[in-house]
Structures are given as C-alpha cells and as structure tokens.
Amino acid sequence: MATIIPVERVKYKTNDGSKNPLCYLYFCRYCLNLKSSDMVYHEIDHLYCPSCLHPSYQREGFAKKNRCEQCWQCPFCSHTLSVRASSVLVPDEQDPQKTVPKKMYYLSCSNCRWTTRDVTIPDQLTGTFVSTPLVDPNVKRIEEIIDYFKYLAKHEKQEIDRKRATTRRKSYFGIPDKFGLLSKVQRRLSRTTLSATNLISQSSFDFNEAEATENVEALPESFYSQPLEISQVATMAQRLADPELQPVLSAELRPLALQFRPRFSRRCRQCQHNVIKPECSVSVTKFRIQMCALLHVPEVRLLEQPNLLAGQYCPVILTLTNLSAQEFHVLLSPLTPSDPEISAEVVVPQEDFLIPPEHMTMMDGSGNGDLAPVQPGSVGVLFRRENKVGIAVLVKPSVDKGDIIGSFLLKHDYVSTTLSSSKAEGQEEEQKVSWLEHPVVVNFGRLGESSC
C-alpha cells in the first residue's frame, strides 16, 4: 500500500503478538480490542467483474468459472480489452454494384495495442464477443476413466455394506421384540444390505488400461535447423494464463474472459461479530459495518525524525490524532520492555489529556492558549490543533547503532454502543464507557539522523 507518511514507524500490538500500523487493524466493539488481519475471518461476500461491475454470488460465479461473459482481458499484457468499431465497405444487399459502409467490431488493448486482428480473429457484426469453447481431444478418455472409477467406488461400497450388514444381523438375533422396534430396525437394515436391484448393476466394466511405452516421438527437425524468433513465441506467463489452450506461439493467443474479483466481509474470530461488511451494490464504496481501527482508536504518529544521541534523554514529538466521533481521554504510561527488539526507554507525560473529535473545537486555535509551556528536557502536551495533540516525550537509546525502538502503553476511554436485548422493550442501545489499553511500538529511527 503506498502511503504519504511512513506508516511503518508506529505499530500497535494486538493480542496475537503481532505488530501492525493502525491503518491495517480492525476494532471489534464487542471484544473491545484491536484485531489484526489474522484475527478475523475473511469471508467472500459476493463477486463482481472489475470492468462491467456485474455482481454475482459465489454459486453463480462458480458455474461461470468465476469469469465474466462480456468482458475480456488482453492475453499479452492482462489489461482490459475495449471494443472498437471500424466501418467496412460491403456490397449492398439490394444493389450489388453499390458498396455500403457496415460497422464491424474488434477487441483492442489500449495498453499494448494488441488487437484481435493480430491473431486473425475475424471482426464481428455485434459488439459482444462470445467465447467459443474448445473441444478437448482427451475428453472421451477422461470420461471413461471417471466412469470406471465410479464403478470401482460403488463395488467397494457394496463390499463394506455387506460386511456391516452381516455383523449387525448377528448382534440383533434372538432378542425378543419387547417394544415393537425390531420391525423398524429390520426395515432400516434392509436398505443397507444387498438388494436384488443392486446386484444386477454392472458386474464387469470394459476398461482399457493405459499402456506404458518407451517409444517417445522425436523432436521435429525444425527445432535444430530453424532459428528461434523470440517475438513469435508466447512467454510462459502468457501461456499459463490460458490453461485450456496453453498457446505456444503468440499467433495462437486469444482474448481471456475477465476474472471476477471478491468483495470480502471480515468477522472477528473470537466473538463472531462482523467487523467489516460491504454494501450489496458493487458501485457503492460505503460500508454497512466499517470498524476500522483508525476510526475508533487515537492514532500516534512521529512528527519529525528526532535527533537521537546514545545514552541521553532526547526530546521527541509525537502527535495523537482523533478520527472518531467521540472525545478521547488519553493517558500514556510506560511499558516494561518484554520485546527483545526494544532498544530505548521512553518517558511519557504522567497527566491525562483530552483529544476532541473533528469540528468540535474553536477554529481560532484558542486551545493552545491555556497550555502550560513545556520546558526543554521535560515531557508534556506541546500544542493542540482541532483533533490533534502534540506530545513531547523523552527517548533514551540504550544501544549504539541500529533502529531505536521504544514502546509505551496508550490508554483511552471508549464509549461503546452495542445492541443489547432486553425482554421488555426488545433491542435497545446500551452505552458503556470502558478504558482500553494498547501497547504502541515506535521506531524512532537511527542515531544521529535528523530531519533538518
């Protein structure tokens, strides 16, 4: 994912021990915890064609081999093909002497200029190109083998049933019919035993087994005598993109049907509630449920590359941004380093502070007026902007070289609204305030580097 700011610098630790930037995490409001990509189920919600946006469900897509019927892909560069029209002069039906322009359609790639005319596929009268299914020369043999396999499987099943029936019959023999169930049991058993109809089914199968031979066709002479024209041979990627035909020459390439893409919905593994659920309509980019961690947890960012010196407490400015709709009370606290890659001690301010949501503060920046100025060499709140707070912390690197990595605990309150069922009035919203803790790991960079 390309980002404007380096998101890999600040990572949040999730319960499975992995560390990810906040933009890659989800937030489950029932478990009240951050969830990484591995802690959610990725379920396919529906499929869609990336070109015509035609939606389809999994079963329907499976029947169509997960490919669109109308959209085509260039076999040379995998770009989407567009339908172009050209007018051709055709003799008029009424008057063979006159020529009338007629529109003929062909497929063309706007990226690499490949056209269906390059592989001598004739232009069509209609704009929709339909694929002609290939006839596999091995189909008959494969069907024969499948039938033989079914026959063998049936016989094996009959053998197993016969053995099971005889053993069962032994155990029920001689028991008096006290509750009138023996007749029912006998009827069930008779279904599994060999009946007359089953026995009549094929007792033998006429099957030609494959013969192994040592004689292999020799390589044709042209391989040795004629020079290879690289531009005429399809590349391996082009050849394998069409597994049905597997064209060897680039003159055999044919347009491929465009593959469907899935739209995922994500579900928390712990509590089975949905974390991400897209809308049914493909062209809508909004989500029904969008519990991205960025929208529920304050985001920590490094303001600028700090100038770090080994063994000394160096000032570093972090910013905390609130992208949610609620006001956060935030408290930072130190974390005992349990990770071997932690190579610095981080001193954080001990007081808690507020981060308002967007559009709630005064635009004249009066929030900065009542801040106590932070002395150089100490920690505290440096500045405030709308929904962002700048914090001065101190970082003491404990190694001489390599990346300086420090960690601290980010505690914030979270007002969760979950639906709770109550017997009297049905479902009603419940508001609960809870304090959440997230270990944050920050890569401060290397010693001696500074952004200025």
């Binding site: 690499c112 001598t120 531009s231 590349t235």
Partner: protein, 171 residues
C-alpha cells in the same frame, strides 16, 4: 527554415536551424525542433504535439565538423512530451508520450514506442514492432493508422486560435 505550403506550424513553437517541414504536417505550440548538428527534414502528414522535442544534437566529442541529416518520414505521430534524437525515422510510426528515443536508434515503419519507453542502444527497430515500457516487444500485423483525421481537424482549428508561421509560396 523551409515550410511547405499546407503545413501548419504554430508561432509558439521553437523551430531553429535548417528545418524542412512537409505539407499537411501540424506542429503544435510549445513543440521544439532544433537542428544543431545538421538539417532536419520532416515529411508529410505528421503530427508533432506539445512539449515534444526533436533535436539533431551536436555532440561535443568527435566529428563536430560533419553534418548529420535527420530524416523523418510521413504519417508519424509524436505525442506529448516525447524526446527524439534518432536520425532516421520512417513512416506511420507512433512515438507515445514521455518516451525517449536516442540518437543511435533507427526506426523503420509502423513502429509504436509506448509511453515512458527509453531506447538508447544502437539498433534498427524492425517494422510493425510495438515496444512496451517494461522492455517487451511485440510484432503487430497492422501498422498504426495515419493521423489524417486529426491533421485535418487541427488544420481547420489552429488558425482560429494560434498565430501561424508563414509557409513558403504563400502571400
């Protein structure tokens, strides 16, 4: 500078040196044609778009006394931002946007140099080749179409919006 009658050369373009421009060729404003090391001869029905640079560059090292002629054929399209120093360009070629063609390259007919491609080595590109930005090449069966419809349209439109350089043989 020798502009044949029928050519449309905007005054805003930079044309310096001994440049011959054939008829029905359209040169957009902000195009640059510099004949340093020798004359440039441009054929007919070409389309040279904005910010494209066609230079017959003067090399500082050897053979500075020799004059080298750059010959560009007909029906070519030089798209926006391309940089061409090749001495021989044939007919019906398309040099796409922001591509660069070096001096030692010899382009035959029907060649398409895709967006962003750079050709620097000494070679002759065979006919009807398409060169993609990642280096792959393909031979197509048909040549790219001549820019006739665009040239006709621009010949009508340009005089109403831009000042043009006077062609030889007109009043």
């Amino acid at each position: 500078m020798n502009i044949q009658p029928g050519a449309v050369v905007c005054k805003d373009s930079v044309v310096t040196g001994d440049v011959t421009i054939g008829s029905k060729t359209v040169i957009h404003p902000k195009a640059t044609i510099i004949a340093e090391a020798g004359p440039i001869i441009i054929g007919e029905n070409n389309l040279i778009e904005e910010q494209s640079i066609i230079i017959n560059r003067l090399e500082s090292n050897s053979d500075s006394g020799k004059k080298r002629v750059m010959i560009i054929g007909s029906n070519n399209v030089f798209e926006v931002g391309c940089h061409v120093e090749a001495l021989q360009i044939g007919d019906n070629n398309v040099i796409e946007m922001k591509s660069k063609v070096g001096r030692d390259v010899c382009i035959s007919n029907g060649v398409v140099v895709s967006c962003g491609c750079t050709l620097e080595t000494k070679e002759t590109i065979p006919e009807n080749t398409v060169i993609l930005a990642n280096g792959t090449r393909r031979t197509q069966l048909e040549r790219p179409a001549a820019p006739t419809s665009q040239v006709e349209f621009l010949t009508k439109i340009f005089p109403t919006y831009h000042y043009l350089r006077k062609a030889q043989g007109t009043k």
